[in-house]
Amino acid sequence: MKFLHKILEKQKPMFEKGGKLEKFYYLFEAGETFLFSPPITAGKKGVQVRDAVDLKRMMMTVVIAMIPCLIWGIFNVGYQHHIAVGETTSFFSVDNLLFGARWVLPIVLVSYAAGGIVEAIFAVVRKHPINEGFLVTGMLIPLIVPPTIPLWQVALATVFGVLVGKEIFGGTGMNILNVAMTARAFLYFAYPSQISGEVWTQLADKTPVNGYSGATALAVAYESSTTDTSVISGLADTNSVLAAPFGGDFFSFQNMLIGGIPGSIGETSTLMALLGALILIATGVGSWKIIVSVFAGAFAMGTIFNLVGANTFMELPAEYHLVMGGLAFGAVFMATDPVSASQTETGKWIYGVLIGVLTVIIRVVNPAYPEGIMLAVLFMNVFAPLIDFYVVQANKKRRLARATV
């Protein structure tokens, strides 16, 4: 490896000030520091030793935490396809893996490539180092889109998210909104027909079996409430012709918890999201306060709706809200984005609870947006600085009060 490092070091003068490729210094730097940790030492004054952590490592931890969701998503895309077209298959079959990979991996690649190009252009033009934040964003975006999404839309949404969500504010650390959610919201409002309705199963031009419905659980729930049938029975009636991979009806609680249902690639399995949460909490990279409070807020709001009970959607047992749609994935990977979330520890509780509450309100009360978590996270991203403002203000008041005693 020393040999490779020497070659790299030899190229360095070309990229440094006065060199031929001076403009591309930060690209070179990004590449070099990716391969070899830089030999920078502590300054003359101040701390002489630094913690072993850096931003690259922190971001990598989040990527690792998403891997269970990604792998599950790949199998599930294959599984949903095979049962929809009437082929029997076990969930973890090689067929499912290959089919899923065929459709999911291109989305991942396009997302990383599109976002990477924007990052690189900004690094060159704005003369700043490449933001490691994109390691995470590039993986998040594929996990929150349907498997049927056209690749050009993935590219466009990623560019929009990185550009408008982040770079125009100055890059990772300066953004107000969660980048991946910005990208998804862009898709949702710009190309609604590719991200709502029955787009959640990749049929690959085959005809689905009779009686198959590609709707998500949230859509079924909303439908049931308009016809005044119980949501549970509505869920039970949907796709009753299909075998549920993990027991019970197709949309049974356990099946939704484990994740054998249609949906965005990475969001279907609440269990895998929780596994990711476990990694984030154990490593301290994600705030457990936010994760717990989102779930708590959603459950509380679900319970309040149970008490109101104005329609059948409101009567849905509160725990169903936790396993339906993208709530779990959003709580674990979106709400915890440290930059766009509340930054004070007290603020994190308030921020999380409100995301949970808002998600359920949007789901139940506003039928135009069945997936509430996306808008709830974006909305609370905007409000996080306000929450922090009051928490910090309280700290200032404490300090003043102490002085006059």
Partner: protein
């Protein structure tokens, strides 16, 4: 009225190479230096000696034009061999070649009853002339105290929780009476209490145990529990307009000796510690000693960094450099100017981390594991991203990131409201250590303090 404060937040950096409690028999340092840069806030240092002059221990060498009475005195007797200047003729070092036997300038001595009737003016005059005034540090700002101020209280931390810190009680053995005398003198300066803060889990040394007429408090918890700034925050916090003085136990004893013996006694025990020292132990010398003799034949390798002070707040010095005025510790660490293939991804158990992000397994080692850390920054500077971490290592009711951002924005009102008066560099040094984004937190704090002073 003594208080017990138990702190939870903070982090101990457990480094290998702690100094054994024994004193080395190596030859003493030959040269000593006074470095004007050691005195935070010294704006216009004026030299009182020239190359070739002979000085005694206690001869004034330097003063600040902004604070004309406060003399910085030679620690030893000998000849001024070099006045080293840097860019724009900035005064860097005044080097003094020491005599074999130290001769002292003689100041007035006081016996117990004379001390009782000593007036504040008289005490001030003796202390400023005798070179010991610079031991008194004023909060806010962490600068040398002003003679005309009356602090609301005086704080002394009797223990040091910094990595590899010298054992204060050990370094002051035999100075019991001097310490008591020093306290008696300090009482002239404040109507409020003098707080002497001890480690709750340690034994109170005989140096500090029988000091009367002051408030003894006890603190427990990880570093920075021993930082005087943290102690002030929990016992008598500083609001706008308040002035608190702080002084090290060594400084108190030095004041005591000036009054009881009439000399500026700059002799001190210095700990030589760190993973690259063969035999880490104490070394008897004077303030501002040259590094080279202290480590002669006592290093494991040559590619090392010498640090005057501890690894969190210290300053890099060369091998022929000098310890700082306030420093009782020489830390020696391996230099970290190396690259590592995929260094950001590799699992690491031998490198200490406060975090537990992917691959950082040092938390599995347990608390007693001693680490050999080098000076590599382990990453590059980035924008603030992670939240909530600085709070975990700052046992004060302060939001460090908000304070730092207020400083960067030069927002005076917010700096004040967020508690800038309560901190100096060392109080937020751990933030700099744990920072994922590798900011120079302490430099930012100092910039903020300077803004507040001048603004």
């Amino acid at each position: 009225m003594s208080k017990i404060v138990k702190l939870k937040k903070g982090f101990d950096i457990n480094l290998a190479g702690k100094a054994q409690k024994k004193i080395a028999n190596t030859p003493p340092s030959e040269t000593f230096a006074i470095k004007p840069t050691d005195f935070v806030g010294m704006k216009r240092p004026k030299l009182l000696v020239a190359e070739g002059d002979n000085v005694k221990a206690g001869t004034p060498v330097l003063y600040d034009k902004m604070q004309e009475n406060v003399m910085i005195c030679s620690p030893v007797s000998g000849e001024v061999v070099e006045v080293k200047r840097g860019a724009k003729r900035k005064l860097l070092e005044i080097k003094i070649l020491a005599d074999k036997e130290v001769e002292y300038e003689q100041f007035k001595t006081y016996n117990v009853s004379e001390l009782k009737s000593l007036s504040r003016e008289e005490a001030t005059a003796q202390m400023t002339k005798g070179g010991v005034w610079a031991n008194i540090i004023q909060r806010p700002y962490g600068i040398i105290a002003k003679e005309e101020d009356t602090p609301k209280s005086i704080f002394i931390s009797a223990f040091d929780t910094h990595p590899l810190a010298a054992d204060i009680a050990f370094t002051l053995k035999g100075d019991e009476e001097a310490f008591k005398t020093g306290i008696e003198v300090l009482k002239k300066f404040t109507e409020g209490p003098i707080h002497l803060n001890h480690d709750l889990n340690g034994e109170v040394s005989s140096v500090f145990a029988n000091v009367e007429g002051i408030q003894h408090n006890k603190f427990s918890g990880p570093h920075p529990a021993g930082n005087v700034g943290v102690q002030i925050h929990h016992i008598d916090p500083i609001a706008k307009g308040d002035i608190v003085w702080t002084i090290s136990p060594y400084g108190v004893a030095q004041i005591g000796k000036l009054f009881s013996k009439g000399i500026y006694d700059a002799s001190r025990l210095v700990a030589i510690a760190g993973s690259e020292v063969k035999d880490p132990q104490y070394y008897k010398t004077y303030t501002g000693a040259c590094v080279n003799k202290m480590v002669e034949g006592n290093l494991k390798q040559d590619h090392v960094r010498f640090i005057s002070g501890n690894v969190l707040t210290g300053e890099r010095v060369e091998k022929d450099g000098y310890l700082g005025f306030y420093s009782n510790l020489l830390s020696v660490l391996p230099e970290g100017d190396h690259s590592e293939f995929l260094g950001w991804l590799k699992p690491k158990k031998e490198v200490l981390s406060f975090h537990r992000a992917w691959g950082l397994f040092s938390f599995l080692n347990g608390k007693n594991k001693e680490y050999v850390l080098d000076t590599n920054t382990n990453g590059e500077v980035r924008a603030f991203v992670e939240t909530g971490v600085f709070e975990k290592v700052t046992p004060m009711d302060i939001y460090p990131v908000y304070l730092l951002k207020a400083i960067l924005a030069e927002d005076y009102d917010n700096m004040e409201a967020l508690g800038i008066y309560e901190v100096i560099e060392e109080d937020l040094a751990l933030c700099e250590y744990v920072d994922v984004s590798k900011h120079d937190v302490q430099q930012i704090v100092r910039d903020g303090l300077e803004l507040m002073q001048n603004g």
